[in-house]
């Protein structure tokens, strides 16, 4: 389901990191953190990006925001190729794309009050230059994030994890963005608080027409919030489709194994379920397997998988998977 006018188009994004080498000579090794990732997000849509640690999902988000310079590929946001923008133009563009981090504590300045934290971007970007108007805007943003106005005078350490994440959300909203990259926004929170934050994100999306790239490892949460979902493994997208197809009819063996590994909070259901327990571990991205990167752990791999790199191809309309066996 590609929308007529995507707000974000990522084309063949590549990010390599060099590690080792240096002081004692030796050639540095290359980690292919993101290795040719392409997708689109329609305006007002939520794309879930899931995968296990080290699969490149967070780096993908950081490259889109240009917090990391990509090694290759293009990121087209609101019709403009971000690699062609000057620093000044990019600063303006950044207002339109904001980020919410996993750990709201380390992303909030401990020496600033909540009010100052939210007011700062409003002043720096001259969104609300007038001081009195800015204070009113801060109150307004706090309210939108479900916090009491009195919170403006508190410091981050006085808040609970859920409240801090609400401050992070209020700060992102201050910039009036069209796209928010949510990088594991609820994984550090307790389950009873996770649901509060997810509901808040959904309400804000409806109210402000926001677009989300929702990066997470929790497949149940991703299913709840996403319209479409992309699954990453070792720097590549292995499957991408709409929510319903991914969860009801997954094609890629990795997606199937991931879904099977999520325990269901119901002992009766669990006792009945068949579990595909994947053997082995995610290989080192320093030395990824040849052929399909998933083949050493794949329950249906054949000889050809060891030599052929599967391309992400359309299997059904709007449903693409990178596997020669489907």
């Amino acid at each position: 389901m590609s929308t007529p006018e995507p707000i974000l188009r990522v084309e063949n994004l590549v990010k390599h990191f060099e590690v080792g080498g240096g002081l004692f000579g030796g050639r540095p090794a290359v980690v292919k953190a993101v290795d040719g990732v392409s997708f689109e997000i329609g305006r007002g849509e939520t794309l879930g990006l899931v995968g296990e640690s080290g699969c490149g999902k967070t780096t993908t988000g950081r490259c889109i925001l240009r917090l990391e310079p990509p090694t290759g590929g293009r990121v087209i946001f609101e019709g403009r190729d971000l690699s062609t923008l000057s620093d000044g133009e990019m600063r303006g563009m950044r207002r339109r794309m904001q980020v919410i981090f996993q750990d709201p504590y380390s992303s909030l300045n401990p020496r600033m009050t909540v009010g100052q934290i939210i007011a700062e971007p409003l002043a720096v970007h001259r969104i609300v230059p007038d001081r009195a108007a800015r204070a009113a805007r801060v109150q307004d943003l706090l309210r939108h994030a479900g916090l009491l106005p009195a919170m403006a005078r508190r410091y981050p350490h006085e808040l609970s994890g859920g409240q801090r994440q609400r401050v992070g959300i209020a700060r992102a909203l201050a910039m009036e963005p069209s796209l928010i990259i949510c990088d594991e926004p609820v994984s550090a929170l307790d389950v009873s608080i996770q649901a509060q934050i997810i509901n808040l994100l959904e309400e804000l999306q409806a109210e402000f027409g926001l677009t989300y790239l929702f990066v997470a490892h929790d497949l149940s949460v991703v299913r709840h919030i996403s319209d479409r979902v992309a699954v990453m493994y070792l720097g590549k997208i292995v499957e991408i489709t709409d929510r319903k197809s991914l969860y009801e009819d997954p094609l890629h063996p990795y997606t199937k194994a991931l879904l099977s590994a999520v325990p269901i909070p119901d002992p009766v259901v669990e006792a009945r379920r068949e579990h595909v327990v994947l053997g082995g571990e995610v290989p080192s991205p320093l030395n990824p397997p040849l052929g399909c990167v998933f083949h050493p752990r794949c329950p249906i791999a054949v000889a050809e998988c060891r030599t052929t790199v599967p391309e992400l191809r359309q299997i059904r309309p709007g449903h693409r998977a990178a596997c020669i066996r489907v």
Partner: protein, 332 residues
């Protein structure tokens, strides 16, 4: 079935500049031989302090066990001399923690750490302990043990390190394993491997498991019985099947309703528990959960409910426990 560990009226308090924190405030639970018991709750509810109390590893002088008994195989651990307690730790009760990197010594080889355990507790020497270490690694699915024993913790992945922790916990054939969030730091496919491994090994070796976790899915898959903890107290206890099918405490009900489930139709909105977890140094009068409870009545804000039977093998600490019904089926 025979009771292996019986914790009675345990209170562990911390004295801080902010006042007394009642991390564990009068909890009683037991583990029977060979079974898996879960202690479920969110951060700060006291579940980890409960585990540390059993091992007598609460950090003094701030933290202190102020009341209760911990009876393991008929002996009150709280009455043992430190020397005797050291023989219980690692020998009779094995431990697995959340982050294996911080529980393994980074400057000792895996071999040294495994052999130390069996040499200290079982009096094995040289070749004997080396052979036992290789055997333990193979038991937890790490092949090529002789070579791996010469390696250091940083040379292993997170999943492999957790396997090593399990090997160390099992080294002396303990009757009980305390596992504190054993898979929380791991990816979901590795989590499945580790939990399956723990389950099959504990069955094979007949060890009971006390599993401390916040993950309701993990509990549903592996636990026989469940204790739900909130603000330093156990608020509900039942068999796993009973507690999921028929929760009788609003907190348990709230937890179950707030997580999205892959096997159910997607709901339009999640049902969170409102409010924030309480400050343990300033607990409200009456039921600690009352300020967040959708069912609370005046009595809840005045009297604290005790943990009372509501059905066979099912206890709940709620004045309204008998009126709480099973959760309505999710809308289609």
């Amino acid at each position: 079935m025979e009771v292996l560990l019986d914790v009675r009226g345990l209170r562990t308090h911390f004295h801080t500049s902010a006042g007394v924190i009642r991390a564990v405030d009068g909890v009683s639970w037991d583990v029977r031989k060979g079974e898996t018991v879960a202690l479920v709750g969110e951060s700060g509810c006291g579940k980890s302090v409960t585990a540390l109390s059993v091992m007598r590893l609460v950090s003094a002088p701030a933290g202190r066990i102020v009341a209760g008994e911990i009876v393991f195989k008929g002996r009150n651990l709280l009455a043992l001399a430190e020397e005797e307690m050291r023989r219980v730790r690692g020998r009779e009760i094995g431990m697995i923690f959340q982050e294996p990197m911080t529980s393994l010594n980074p400057v000792l080889t895996i071999g040294r750490q495994l052999t130390e355990t069996v040499e200290t507790h079982l009096g094995m020497t040289g070749a004997q302990s080396q052979a036992r270490a290789v055997e333990l690694l193979s038991l937890v699915g790490i092949p090529d043990g002789a070579r791996r024993l010469r390696q250091f913790p940083h040379q292993f992945s997170g999943g492999m390190r957790q396997r090593i922790m399990i090997a160390m916990a099992l080294a002396c054939d303990p009757a009980l394993i305390l596992a504190d969030e054993p898979t929380t730091a791991l990816d979901v496919t590795i989590q499945a491997q580790i939990l399956e491994l723990m389950k099959s090994l504990s069955r094979r070796l007949g060890a009971a498991i006390m599993m401390i976790t916040h993950n309701l899915g993990v509990v549903a898959r592996y636990a026989d019985r469940v204790n739900v903890m909130y603000a330093g107290k156990i608020v509900e206890r039942a068999t796993a099947r009973e507690i999921y099918a028929n929760p009788r405490h609003p907190y348990t009900l709230g937890l179950l309703r707030s997580v999205p489930r892959l096997d159910e139709p997607r709901r339009a909105k999640l049902q969170p528990i409102s409010g924030q977890p309480p400050d343990l140094s300033r607990l409200p009068v009456g039921c600690s959960f009352a300020p967040r409870c959708a069912f609370a009545i005046d009595r809840c804000r005045e009297d604290e409910p005790g943990l009372e039977p509501v059905a066979t093998d099912h206890l709940s600490a709620c004045w309204l426990a008998s009126e709480l019904h099973a959760p309505a089926p999710a809308p289609a």
